[in-house]
Amino acid sequence: MRILGGNTLNAYAMRKPRRKEFLLAFRALVEAASWRRLKDVEGQFLQVVDVTPPDCIAFDFPEENLRIETRVNCALGLVRVFSVGPSDRKKRRTP
């Protein structure tokens, strides 16, 4: 998959250096993936994806307190990164 807006990931890693390795790993896994449909994304990131049709996917890692919001166009092999921030699931877990 081709990542667009990857500079958002870099900027967040600069602000939170402890997340840098994790974000690099995320980027590497996404770039190495070849999703044909949204189900493939869900299959690979089963535990962490929040899908909002038609093409919005958020990758939410509560343990890392990280949420990466994207749009995915599987047919063209594109992942557009919109934002990186704290996890929503972690917020929900903490009353």
């Binding site: 990542i3 667009l4 500079n7 594109l78």
Partner: protein, 366 residues
């Protein structure tokens, strides 16, 4: 007709391209929009690659991320790799992912082999052992420190505070028979006691950590109890504590010594000590001792006599001359005090030699 696609050279170009990509993002394949989107995405990706760093992901982080993404546990990894220790070492970066492991992970968990194959450095066993050793040491020191602090707080809670000590000692020793103010004692006598008992008296804060550690070491090694108390601690022990020797008393002694230092001046503490310290028999205080052993007032003592008296409080019954023939040991002790005085610059070496040459006699008993 859409505007022509331009190369991306600046952040503004990049932002404009991303905005157009967002507008076209839902384009279906084979459409004009899709073609434009594809060209724009190539340009954007290339620009971002040039702007970003070329650091590749760490294989172990990729593995961890893939495990989190799929909700896999370390136990499952252990099952896949064949042992718990292997899984733990891989995740802790203490073991390289072997070719066989990479193959298993790629086949069973669909993690791209290329991402797991990059070489990386692992922590050596020695370094790890050192780190564990340092951590254990730090924890031990921390817990030990907390325990000591807790003991000090516990034992200190029922001891008199600074105000009570100041009030209790403000006039008490003035009522001691034969009480002699510090200014009435000759400087050589005071110097002799400081040399024999606590040469750093005017420098420490009531106790000497070095002396306590040295005494504790000596007691542990030889089995014989050694002092290590400063003059302030001795005042605390003799005037304010009535307990028999124990670790508890030693701690209380240190706490009280610190409070004494806050409550009284150094001179006042020294004066108190000189007037209550035990010299053997029924003799307490330097004036009584000078009278008992030499039939003189303190102001009339020679340097040699002052040094003898200064050596007595350490072990009065071992060095006193009035009940047994302790002359050899007593002279050794006196000469040691004289040497200390000379070494500390309190008297000259020649004065110390002259004093050492004086015979050690107690009037009326020799």
């Amino acid at each position: 007709m859409s505007k022509p696609i331009r190369p991306i050279r600046t952040e503004a170009d990049h932002a404009a391209a991303l905005a157009e990509i967002d507008a076209l993002f839902a384009a279906t394949p084979e459409s004009q929009d899709a073609d434009r989107l594809e060209v724009l995405s190539v340009l954007v990706a290339e620009y971002e690659r040039a702007q970003g760093s070329a650091i590749s992901a760490h294989p172990v982080e990729v593995l961890k991320m893939a495990m989190k993404a799929q909700g896999r546990t370390q136990a499952e990894l252990a099952e896949l790799l064949g042992s718990r220790s292997r899984a733990s070492e891989v995740l802790g970066r203490r073991r390289q992912l072997s070719g066989a492991m990479v193959e298993k992970l790629a086949q069973s968990w669909a993690i791209p082999a290329a991402l797991l194959s990059a070489p990386y450095s692992i922590e050596s066993r020695l370094l790890r052992t050192l780190k564990i050793g340092v951590a254990i040491l730090a924890i031990t020191i921390g817990l030990g420190g907390a325990a000591v602090a807790g003991m000090f707080a516990w034992y200190g809670s029922d001891l008199p505070d600074t105000e009570h000590i100041a009030a209790a000692l403000s006039g008490s020793t003035a009522n001691v028979p034969g009480f002699t103010p510090l200014q009435d004692l000759p400087p050589e006598l005071i110097k002799a006691f400081l040399a024999a008992e606590d040469e750093d008296f005017y420098g420490h804060a009531g106790y000497s950590g070095t002396a306590i550690l040295r005494a504790a070491w000596h007691t542990a090694v030889s089995g014989k109890r050694q002092g290590g108390s400063t003059i302030t601690q001795q005042v605390a022990k003799n005037v304010l504590l009535k307990e028999s020797p124990s670790l508890k008393r030693k701690i209380k002694e240190i706490i009280l010594a610190q409070r004494l230092e806050d409550a009284l001046t150094k001179d006042r503490i020294l004066e108190t000590w000189l007037n209550v310290v035990y010299f053997g028999g029924k003799e307490y205080g330097v004036t009584a001792a000078a009278q008992h052993y030499f039939g003189k007032a303190p102001g009339n003592l020679s340097v040699a006599e002052a040094a003898y008296l200064a050596g007595l409080p350490k072990a009065p019954n071992v060095y006193r001359l009035d009940v047994a023939d302790n002359r050899i040991r007593a002279k050794e002790r006196r000469d040691w005090v004289l040497n200390r005085m000379a070494a500390d610059g309190m008297i000259t070496v020649s004065a110390a030699r002259l004093a050492s040459a004086e015979p050690l006699t107690v009037p009326g008993r020799n």
